[in-house]
Amino acid sequence: MTPADQDSNRADVGSGTPPVIAPGHTFGSVTDKISAIVLTRKTPIGWWFGFLIAFALMNVMMVAITYLFVKGTGIWGINIPVGWGFAIVNFVWWIGIGHAGTLISAILLLLKQTWRTSINRFAEAMTLFAVACAGIFPIIHTGRPWLAYWLFPYPNTMGVWPQFRSPLIWDVFAVSTYATVSLLFWYVGLIPDLATLRDRSQSPIGRVVYGMLAMGWRGSARHWHRYETAYLLLAGLATPLVVSVHTVVSFDFSVGIIPGWHATIFPPYFVAGAIYSGFAMVMTLSIPLRKVFGLEDFITMRHLQNMAKIMLATGLIVAYGYGIELFMAWYSGNEFETFMIKNRILGPYGWIWFLLVLCNVITPQFLWLKRVRNSVVGLFIISIIVNIGMWFERFVIIVTSLHRDFLPSSWDMYVPTKWDWSFFVGTLGLFFSLMFLFIRFLPVISIFEMRTIATGDDPASADTKDMGGAA
């Protein structure tokens, strides 16, 4: 850390903006504080409470999957005309949530936003777990999930290949690439911190496990140099990747000719929606996290305020997307498009559309107020409302577009069954179970990156200050 960097961080303290790290933290104190959550601190009772609830919900999913494998997709509410129900709603919702993690870790790194440092680790973990939840749905939706590997092009005795002109196969590549690159990015970021845990762990098991995961990292100058290069390049690769993933997800809809799906606004509108919901989820997770583990020094009001501003900006893009959908329905003069919008707002599912506007368009407008951006409770509530609203958005897009298409004789309603709900609640359980395990066993904040923004003087260095003459 050069003195100039320290000054810039101190300047933040002086001005009205809250700092990205509380003043006075040293290399040693950030290391101790973050690694203590994993190594020395007693597991809070709240952790057990939360984990057990999440784990119980995850078991609901296990039961639901078992029953699905026995009975088939008939246990869901889907039928013709609504062939894509909760499974695809949940898939798009989860994969969208993942996008904020990549945005924080990759795009903000390239833009040299130092405030990302204390939230990127768990945002990346969130990405990984959200993609894991998302990945379950298309697989179980195939009807014969044990043959899901047919989606991949492998030489087979049938002599056929996937149909590469279909967005659904693009999705296979996009989501699996996204999962792989997110995992690599997350793991590479963890390596130096795993070495810290290896060196600081008091238990032999901890030393062995963290030691194996750290792969013998010793922080040599040459290693750091290659490491930084690889990390930066990964960030550069992940940035277009994250945009491509939700674009391809939107192609799943927009390449089809269903009114309500066949729109050119879909790719940017989906990407903005993904970032919007993802930041809402980061907020929902970080507010209790900093409270329970006392990480207010590292995840400061500055982080919450910045995330609130990004939510507001992406929320406005999403609102613009809704507006364009309404406009195009009128401007196109297409009677099916016009009917689709009328049915979406005034039809049997209209109440969900109004809830969606309430959650996604009206609620974030409160973020214009500085008082709301400064209120932890207010931000927490808004973030949860936005999460719910984004789920409604996917429901509206999928179900209201399908249930009344071109031919009135085929119109029908879609009603989710208890198994549909079990899968949704179950993946929430899976997500939070993984999140709780991650918080307990891995450093939730990137320790080595926090060292680069720690501004305090190291008291331990006093014993060598007599060397000042050498400088």
């Binding site: 693009w170 690439t177 590479v188 100058a221 290659r226 490491y227 990964l234």
Partner: protein
């Protein structure tokens, strides 16, 4: 092929790895000495010590820090990293693989008429080509970094220094390797003590 691979991951000229080279010092070396390591309390002291050691004539050294310090790699005399080239190659291979896979399956191996579209529907092949480019480049970045760093490496002589644990917390280390032609066990040890280090110790191989 093998020689090319070997050259790419070759140990020649890489100070940090491999067995110590021929000892030029006469008799005074303790058996199996890997190097001498000095511990510094802050990055500035380390950054001051490196040019002094270079000026003294030492070439084969390595520094260890708890966080990346950009200028250290150059100061210590390591060249630029080869990771970017690997990533570029990975990306090119990925793009060729992605498009080649779709072209070969859709045009050559099993042409199917899908809604009257051309067999080579190259526009529809772009998303998968793009994803494969990113996937291969990303794998090349991570695997390239690990292979060039020769990780995983469960044991390294520096781990035998008890205080080296602090390299992953808040201490900065500089090691001069016994392979250095200028290395003399006692002299180097005494020289390291003049650099402002808080501790100096031998590193056994």
């Amino acid at each position: 092929m093998k020689s090319l691979l070997e050259r790419f991951v070759s140990r020649g000229g890489k100070p940090e790895f491999g067995t110590p080279g021929p000892r030029v010092a006469g008799g005074e070396l303790p058996a199996r000495l890997f190097g001498v390591i000095a511990e510094f309390a802050n990055a500035e002291d380390l950054l001051h010590a490196v040019p002094k050691a270079r000026k003294e004539g030492y070439q084969v050294m390595e520094a260890y820090t708890p966080y990346p310090i950009e200028e250290l790699n150059d100061a210590i005399g390591h060249g630029p990293s080869r990771v970017p080239v690997l990533v570029l190659l990975g990306g090119i291979v990925g793009a060729l693989f992605g498009f080649g896979l779709q072209y070969w399956t859709s045009v050559i191996d099993y042409p199917l008429n899908i809604g009257g579209r051309p067999y080579n529907s190259w526009v529809s092949f772009i998303p998968i080509t793009f994803e494969c480019t990113i996937l291969f480049a990303g794998l090349a970045a991570v695997l390239g970094m690990l292979v060039l760093n020769r990780l995983p490496m469960p044991y390294h002589p520096v781990f035998s220094v008890p205080r080296f644990q602090l390299a992953s917390r808040d201490r900065f280390f500089l090691m001069i390797l016994a392979r250095d032609p200028h290395f003399r066990a006692g002299d180097t040890f005494r020289f390291m003590e003049t650099l402002g280090a808080s501790h100096v110790s031998d590193v056994e191989d």
